[in-house]
Assembly symmetry: C2
């Protein structure tokens, strides 16, 4: 049976998220300190509350929530999200997805034909970049500056390409993965203006914005587009409970123009019909009981000292020619080494020193790789591990 | 913002599952007896057992199962499935999916380019047909006979088309949706032989085979291909817990050659990363505790008398020129009315008589519609509703 010649070209050429493979590699090294994964801290998962809620919702309404439900999610959960986020929208502008990746996939499935373009921050989240490439999109990488992507480069790309072929600007505006950078309010507005003028959608990926330890919260692109530009359709915003309650639950949501949501629902019918209804109901109850506010507070109290520890250990151990971002929240920061250093090679050296990170090259689209950066995660290790691990990385550089 | 011209052609042309819309319509008619839905009976859902298990698995291992997990599902659940089904395969030949539709989508996403062909039983499950069309496949409809699809017509299609463009034969071999027909052993073997000879994959959709009330269980195409033809790759088999534990859980699985599973996992990374891990663990425990065997027995004891009732009410009330299938299991049977009758029109008449079914035309691919059949579901209504409802349908025919 020669089934291989039956696969689509994209399937055979498709890249895996190499990050998953790297994280796998680190598991076999005893005593290793890992800053590689993108894992929230399990100490923050509200295990006992969720255990009670699962039992409660099944006893209360099991015969209903074990049945087929609506594509696009439960009314109850959509309303609870709107209330929690204090959004001035209706439930037909919300869609429940099986994790943020599922929301992003459904969005690109609805809009991308092979050969289309997506403008992306560079570096960016590899999981999205490989999904874009898998559906046949060409990625136009825009360099990240300390206050968000380079607006001039964005404009140049739009000038150089037919704007009808550019389908999305993909951005993670808050505590970006992998850089930890937050986009300034000014750039948020400029980007929305440019997107509206050129008829390009913005795909706002927002897994982290609620985890802010420093500074003032910024309005989402979704909110700015509606409130300042009176535009309901330019931003599709994808948000997730993965970093708040646990990624094992696979509950995320998309906010968008109701007609776009309706199209995405039509794809969802073919892709996975609905998201686990029992878990949807559990998350509804969690929100309705007002538990999320304290939970977010608890996570921030957990992550802030870890972030502080990482920055102070970097100050202590790193040579002068190494620079890093100082994130105001989230789970990651980014190191820039001298241009002569290739962190793909440093990765192997680091494993020998029993410490791991993700080499920067893994966060670039094909052909736009840079090699002198690396990503560090501070949400998963302990403060002691952070200090010792940063010391070990510094040792590999000397 | 003119986002509509940004959508893919397939997105704008995409059909929804009209069945969902019809089922929606029936909800607003008071006193209506519905045979329209494809819902398992909520009385069979093991609510209390699941409530206990959710609590148990979270208390036992919450910090782990709320974290990110492996794409393609938990080892533990894969092994529990292999043991339950007494399969001679390894866990890398199993993939956990978020419902059977998600498994089917991931399979077609891996193999179908726009313009490819899928051979399908006709009529068949509309949810799959619209998914095939959405990814750009042309459907070649093969007429259903009383013992499965018409093999001569299947051969003719293969002769008429380039076999490398025919990617799948899609079949629901047991208690097919919508007809209730089960494929004979002879046809199973013929189909596998033809598929191997012509290098065409078989996509076996198996949501119902465990719900057999009459006759002897038949081997799946997956098992026959391996045991009789020593071929591991020709059949991709998709199975689900939706009709056994409840569709709200969204737990299904794909069995296939390990290299095909690996490709499908690569797509799953982009489509939804993983299936809800808490629910995966609950289903693992449910299987490990040996609860499924009794559960299946309980469902069969629930559905068999309902099926019997429907057949005997049809005998009692239907005019002589109406014929129906006598399913040996599953959830549906199929009525054939005289060719002059259009069940799309009968549907509206039936609503006036406060009874609903799905008109047969909804189960055909575009351009191959027939109008004189209809599908009846017997798993959801009570025996009394079945008798009264069949009487009402008979009344609309006189």
């Amino acid at each position: 049976m020669n089934w291989r010649n039956k696969c689509t070209r994209n399937t055979l050429m498709m890249k895996s998220s190499m990050i998953r493979n790297l994280v796998e590699m680190t598991k076999s090294v005893p005593g290793l300190i890992s800053f590689a994964g993108g894992f929230p801290s399990p100490s923050t998962f509200p295990v006992a509350q969720l255990a009670d809620l699962y039992r409660e919702v099944l006893h209360e309404d099991g015969k209903n929530i074990l049945q087929y439900g609506s594509t696009g999610g439960e009314q109850e959960l959509k309303q609870a999200i709107i209330d929690q986020e204090e959004l001035d929208i209706t439930t037909d502008e919300v869609m429940i997805c099986s994790g943020a990746t599922n929301g992003i996939y459904t969005a690109i499935r609805s809009f991308i034909e092979s050969g289309d373009f997506i403008i992306s921050e560079s570096p960016s989240f590899l999981g999205s970049l490989v999904a874009f490439e898998a559906v046949g999109a060409n990625i136009l990488p825009v360099t990240m500056r300390s206050d968000g992507l380079d607006i001039e480069q964005l404009k140049t790309y739009i000038k150089q390409n037919k704007s009808e072929k550019i389908k999305f600007i993909y951005t993670i505006p808050d505590f970006q993965n992998p850089t930890g950078i937050t986009m300034s309010n000014e750039k948020r507005e400029m980007m929305i203006k440019i997107a509206i003028e050129n008829d390009i959608l913005i795909l706002e990926d927002d897994p982290y914005s609620k985890l802010r330890f420093y500074g003032t919260a910024k309005n989402s692109l979704f909110r700015i587009a509606r409130e300042k530009f009176n535009n309901k359709s330019v931003v599709i915003s994808i948000r997730s409970f993965s970093k708040l309650l646990g990624p094992g639950l696979r509950i995320a949501y998309t906010l968008a123009d109701k007609n776009i949501i309706s199209l995405m629902n039509s794809w969802a019918q073919k892709i996975n019909v609905t998201t686990d209804r029992v878990t949807q109901r559990v998350v509804s109850r969690y929100l309705e009981k007002g538990l999320l506010t304290d939970q977010i507070k608890h996570i921030k109290e957990t992550y802030k000292p870890l972030c502080d520890q990482m920055v102070s250990s970097l100050d202590k151990y790193m040579p002068e020619n190494v620079k890093w971002t100082k994130p105001e929240g989230g789970m990651f920061l980014w190191l820039n080494l001298p241009e002569s250093v290739n962190t793909d090679n440093q990765f192997k050296k680091a494993l020998n020193h029993k410490v791991a990170f993700i080499p920067g090259s893994k966060f670039y689209s094909q052909g736009s790789e840079k090699y002198n950066g690396l990503r560090l995660n501070f949400s998963f290790p302990t403060a002691e591990q952070i200090d010792e691990g940063i010391k070990r990385i510094a040792d590999t550089l000397s």
